[in-house]
Symmetry: C2
Subunit: 337 residues, 2 copies
């Protein structure tokens, strides 16, 4: 008989938490008991889980007791608050926040990339940043064959990166603008309707924003390549839930396009979408609600014989967050292919 697990979702009512609950059911995760935990404000609500409806309970020690696997969909502060308790009772905490990602004792894992890093976890596994997860799915299959020398990234990131509130703001503000009213930004610092702006995470001393630094540092950690040259320009666009990325990938020698395409066509978690005759490539509306990252427009960079250009779109909430966390849980239970 397959073992079943007591699973908790921390932050179960947010965009990522809701998706985690949906995926646990969809993927038939072996659950003995599912606890949906959230702030006092959200407690008392009910959430569907297949044919059942489960109550949302307060995130506290009592409700975490006995949990085997905790999926974290809260902010970093809440994750830091509950990690010690979860560790002390022997749970595995798979955390989607940035709290532990760069902690050298915590594995940062995309199962298609570095599942072996899970072996040495000490009760916490970190889920990478959304843009990073989507990007490494396309870059890793190439990097395994020929080491990447430099990565230049520009992103086109959906409103869902700011949670459900970001998506609602995009829709409401767009209706306001269409009706001739002024955009009133609340969740985002700038108007998002029919607009775009450099990513609104805080800017460090090196003038890169946090989102960009995450892409750089988290990729290096997962690739075990501490000095891999990466640069990123992260931009928020008026798209609801899937991120897009333009990648320029330089190698030490030319990488034949056909070889890259063949590698990506069979790469796990990747779906090749390119019909050159119809100018049909990955688009965020078609990447939404999909497990796979859509990759296409793979072409020889005309400016550098050793570089390839590549375009991808992936669901920020799904593979960019909830799905990757559930896949980590599956790996830990030995269920990942």
């Amino acid at each position: 008989m397959t073992r079943e697990y007591c699973v908790a979702v921390l932050g179960a009512t947010g965009a990522v938490g809701t998706e985690m609950v949906r995926l646990l059911h969809e993927r038939k995760f072996p659950i003995s008991k599912l606890r949906l935990l959230a702030s006092e404000r959200s407690a008392g609500r009910w959430i569907a889980f297949g044919d059942d409806t489960l109550p949302v309970e307060v995130l506290n020690a009592e409700n975490l007791r006995g949990v085997d696997i905790a999926l974290g969909a809260t902010d970093a502060a809440i994750a830091r608050e509950w990690a010690p308790f979860l560790q002390s009772q022997g749970s595995v905490f798979i955390d989607n926040s940035s709290a532990f990602r760069m902690d050298p004792t915590v594995p940062l894992v995309v199962p298609e990339v570095n599942p072996e890093d899970l072996e040495h976890h000490l009760g916490i596994v970190a889920n990478p940043n959304c843009s990073t997860i989507l990007m490494v799915l396309a870059v890793w299959p190439l990097h395994k064959v020929r080491a990447v020398k430099r990565l230049v990234i520009s992103t086109y990131q959906a409103a869902s990166g700011a949670g459900a509130a970001g998506m609602i703001e995009l829709q409401q503000q767009t209706q306001d603008v269409l009706d001739g009213r002024t955009a009133k930004p609340e969740v985002f610092p700038h108007p998002i309707a029919f607009n775009l702006f450099p990513h609104n995470s805080s800017i460090g001393e090196d003038f890169y924003c946090e989102e960009e630094k995450k892409m750089i540092l988290e990729t290096r950690k997962m690739f075990h390549a501490d000095h891999l040259p990466i640069t990123a320009t992260c931009v928020r666009v008026s798209v609801l839930r899937a991120h897009s990325e333009s990648l320029n990938i330089e190698f030490d020698a030319p990488f034949p396009v056909d070889e890259a395409r063949a590698l990506l066509a069979k790469a796990p978690g990747v779906r090749l979408v390119e019909d050159w005759s119809r100018n049909y490539f990955p688009m965020p509306n078609e990447a939404s609600d999909q497990d796979d990252v859509l990759v296409g427009r793979i072409r020889q960079d005309l400016s550098c014989p050793n570089a390839l250009e590549l375009w991808l779109c992936g669901d920020q909430i799904r593979k960019g967050a909830a799905l990757n966390a559930v896949q980590i849980a599956e790996c830990l239970c030995g269920r990942f292919d």
Copy 2:
């Protein structure tokens, strides 16, 4: 007494033509007579020119007769049809289409970059592609000081690149999607509401689309640098009229950020917009209806000691098309600063 000119606008009723008419008035271009020319379908309409209202007439030889300066805002086929007649009668034809841009006998000019190329025109001057104009305004001031070694570009292009019809499609389709109806693409090949897609120009044998090749080839022509390594990924986004671009600019040696910032702060046609503490940088909604290209987020590329990262937004219809053409006309009349 200042000389006055008989000026014609070819394609006066489109998005770019309308803007040309507005700019000719705004900038007090010395006009003796203004002829607004368009297809039979549009002839008979009236267009405001300051306090006057002028009739739209059919684009034919009779109505072009005696024109000193013709501003072309038509497609390439119409431009090719009328260029010989305009040349034969000694007019100067400043054409915004792609018809003559790469013709070695035709100067391709951004007045802030290569006004000297106007000296040898043979009756035709080409206005570059919109994304290219906006980009070279930011790159040229740096290239003059230290030659660019390689340019990696990703664009975020507005619906206005497909004319007024593209802008209307974006607005109507967005309302449809908000109302729960399916997006019905007509002007664009794919849904544009809350979506984005690789640029819908046709794809060549090198797998770059026409828009990308324009950025590469036109920049080389204007910079008189036939082999300058440039790569571009052009993307259409759900923005109405201003394009944005993420530029990675590599030089032969490090380019101090402060020096780059100082050069761009005083560069003609450029306005520096960067407030790092407020995460406030160029945005397309603020670049719309502006003459200047907004440039910011100038930072040292962490992946390459010789490269800078830079972000810009500019009005696609204005400096990206109509304003640049009117400025070329001003140059030819000796009025450009």
